[in-house]
C-alpha cells in the first residue's frame, strides 16, 4: 500500500483501537501519512473517522495500539502532548471560545507574554493581523468576540490557529462544512500551499468530489474498521462510494 521509496512516514497509526462502553468505535486501524501528503479519511457518520483522529490530537486516549512520529513511538495523552509534537487540529466544531476575540483564540493556550509574564495583547493582535492578512485579507473584526463573526470568518480563525504555530501534521475535520463556495476554494488553495511546504494533512470529509481533488490517498472506514487505503488517482468516485457503502475494496485493486 504505502510506497517504500518515500522513507519514514511522518505519522504512523498502528492497530489503534478504542471502545466506548460496548461499542468498538475504532477497531485495529492502521494508517500512515507522509510529509507533503494529504490523506483523506472517508466513511459514514459513526464510521470512526473523527474518533480515530482524536486519538492523534489527544482529545481521546486509545485503548491499544501505538502512534509513531518520524518513526519514533510517542505517547499522546492530551491535547498538550499533541501540540508538543507539532500536531494541530481544526475541529469540526472549530473549538473557539466565543466570548474572546480572534487573537485571544488564535493564541489560546500559547499566549505571547512580555518580560514580566503579562499577556502582550498588542503584540498578539499585530501577529493576528499579519497572518489573517495572508489567509483572509477581508478579515476586519479583530476586537469583536468571535461569536460576532460569520462561519467563514470563524473558520479562518481556526485555520490561522493551526497554521501559525508551524504545524508539521495538520488534522482537518470537515473544514469546509460550514463554508460557501468562495471560502471553500480558499481552504483548497491553502491545503495545496501547506502541502508544498511539506506538511502532512489528514482530511476528514464527506464530499467525495472534494476528496478526489484535494487528497493523494484515501482511507475508508466502516463500522470502526479500515476498509482499505487507495491512491486517489487509481479509483473513481464510484469506487470510493462502493468502499464507503459496501465496505469492499474495488475489484481492479484487489490483490
Amino acid at each position: 500500500m504505502s510506497s517504500p521509496d518515500r522513507g519514514t512516514p511522518l505519522v504512523e497509526l498502528r492497530d489503534i483501537s478504542l471502545a466506548f462502553g460496548g461499542i468498538q468505535a475504532v477497531d485495529r486501524v492502521t494508517v500512515d501519512l507522509y510529509p507533503g501528503e494529504v490523506v483523506g479519511l472517508l466513511g459514514h457518520n459513526g464510521a470512526g473517522k473523527s474518533t480515530l483522529i482524536k486519538c492523534l490530537s489527544g482529545a481521546y486516549r486509545m485503548d491499544s495500539g501505538e502512534i509513531r512520529i518520524n518513526g519514533e513511538k510517542v505517547e499522546i495523552n492530551n491535547p498538550r502532548d499533541a501540540r508538543r509534537h507539532n500536531i494541530e487540529t481544526i475541529y469540526q466544531t472549530l473549538a473557539l471560545a466565543d466570548n474572546l476575540d480572534a487573537s485571544a483564540n488564535l493564541f489560546l493556550g500559547r499566549e505571547l507574554t512580555n518580560a514580566i509574564g503579562m499577556i502582550d495583547e498588542a503584540q498578539m493582535e499585530a501577529e493576528t493581523r499579519r497572518i489573517m492578512g495572508r489567509l483572509n485579507p477581508n478579515f476586519r473584526k479583530f476586537s469583536a468576540p468571535v461569536s460576532a463573526l460569520s462561519g467563514g470568518q470563524r473558520q479562518s480563525v481556526a485555520i490561522a490557529r493551526a497554521v501559525y504555530f508551524n504545524a508539521k501534521i495538520l488534522i482537518m475535520d470537515e473544514p469546509t462544512a460550514a463554508l460557501g463556495p468562495q471560502e471553500t476554494r480558499m481552504v483548497a488553495e491553502l491545503i495545496d500551499e501547506l502541502k508544498r511546504q511539506g506538511l502532512g494533512i489528514f482530511l476528514i470529509d464527506h464530499d467525495i468530489h472534494q476528496v478526489k481533488q484535494l487528497c493523494d490517498r484515501a482511507a475508508v472506514m466502516k463500522n470502526g474498521a479500515l476498509v482499505g487505503i487507495v491512491e486517489v488517482a487509481d479509483v473513481t468516485e464510484d469506487d470510493l462510494l462502493g468502499m464507503i457503502i459496501a465496505g469492499k475494496r474495488p475489484e481492479h485493486l484487489a490483490a
Binding site: P79, A95, D98, N99, L100, L108, G109, M118
Partner: protein, 433 residues
Amino acid sequence: MTAATAHAPATQKKKGVFAALEIDTRLLGMIGAFVVLCLAFNFITDGRFLTPRNIFNLTIQTVSVAIMATGMVFIIVTRHIDLSVGSLLATSSAVMAMAQTAILPDLLGVGLDSPTVAALAIVIGLMTGTAIGAFQGWLVGYLLIPAFIVTLGGLLVWRNVAWYLTSGQTIGPLNEYYLLFGGINGTLGETLSWAFALVATVAALWALVASRRNKVAHEMPVKPLWAEGAIGLLIAVTIFGFVALLVAYQIPSGRLERMFVARGEVLPEGFTQGYGIPISVLMLIVLAVLMTVVSRKTRFGRYVFATGGNPDAAELSGINTRMLTVKVFALMGFLCALSAVVASARLTNHTNDIGTLDELRVIAAAVIGGTALSGGVGTIYGAILGALIMQSLQSGMAMVGVDAPFQNIVVGMVLVVAVLVDILYRKRTGGKA
C-alpha cells in the same frame, strides 16, 4: 512611507463622543443607576445620605462583600457557583480569632496585642481559607461533583466547623493591630491619603500612556488624543474627589483627645484631623487593581474566561481545566479569609453568625455587576460596583426607616430586575447572554 500615510490607519473615523472614549456603556449604565440611587436617598433623607460620614461608613461596610465578589466573578465566569463563601468566611474568622486569643500568645510567650500575633493569625487564616477552597475545587474539578452540591455541603460544613472551633462563643477582644483592618480603627489620616491619591493618579495616567504607546508601536488604531485626555482627567477627578470625601470626615474631638493622651501629648487648641482612607478600603482598591490585571493580562485570567466561554475549546487548546478549577476555588477561599479579617476586625470580635447569608450578597453583587451565570462574561469593577449598589440600597433604606422585611424584599426584587435589564441589554447589543 510618509508620516501621514503611516499615521492614517492609526486614527479612527469620526464617531460619537462615547464611542470615541471607548467607555463600556454597561458600566456607564451602572454608574448612572448608582448615582440616581444615591441622589434619591439623599433627597428623601434631607441630605443625610451623601455626607462624608455616611459615605465613609458605606465604603467600609461594602469592603467585605466586595472582596469576595471579585473572586466570585472568576467562579461564575468558569460556569461554577460557590454557596459556601459566608461559611468559609466564618471558619477562617474563627481560626484567626482562636489563634490570636487562645493559642499564639501562649505559644510565643507574648502579649495579646503583639503585632507578631496579628500577622501570624492572618497568615494562618489565609492559608486555611485557601486550603479549604482548593479542596472544594478539587472535588469539583477532579471528582466532577457539581460545584452547586460541593459548596452547598460546604455551606453547612464550614458554618458548623466555625461553631465547633469557638463553641459558639463570641471571641474577643481581638488583637489591636488586627483591628486596624476593620475600617474606622485603621485609617491612613490626611497626609497619607493625599499621597495615595497622587500616587494612584500618576500610576493610572502612566498606564494610559503605556497602553497607547504599545498600540502605536504595533500600528494599531488608538483613540483620539482628546479622548485619552478626557479619560485621564476623569480618573484624576474621581480619585481626588473620593479621597477628599474620606478626608472630610473628621475624627470626633473626644476621640482625638484620647489619641493624644495615649501618646502622652496634649491635644492642641483647634486641632482637627480627618479619617482619610480606611486601610480596608485601600486593601479593596489594591485588590481590585490586582484582580483586574489577573483577569486581563495573565494566562490564568485568560484561561478562566476561555473556559467559561467554551470549556471544550479550552480543553482542546491544551488548557488544564481541572487544575484551573482548583486554582479558581483556592483563590475564592483566599479571598473569603481576607474578607474574614475585614469583617471580624470591623465587629472587633469574632461572632458565631459572622458572614451569614454573605453567599447571597456576594453572588448578587457579582450578578448585578454584569457577571453572566452562563459563563464567560464578567468584570471585577462591575462586581465591586454591584456590591456598592447593594450596600447603598440596604443602608439607604435603613436610614429612610424602611421596615427590615421590606428592605430584603426590595433587595431581592432589585436583583431579579437587574438581571432582566442585563439580559435585555445584551440582546440589544447582540452579545451573548
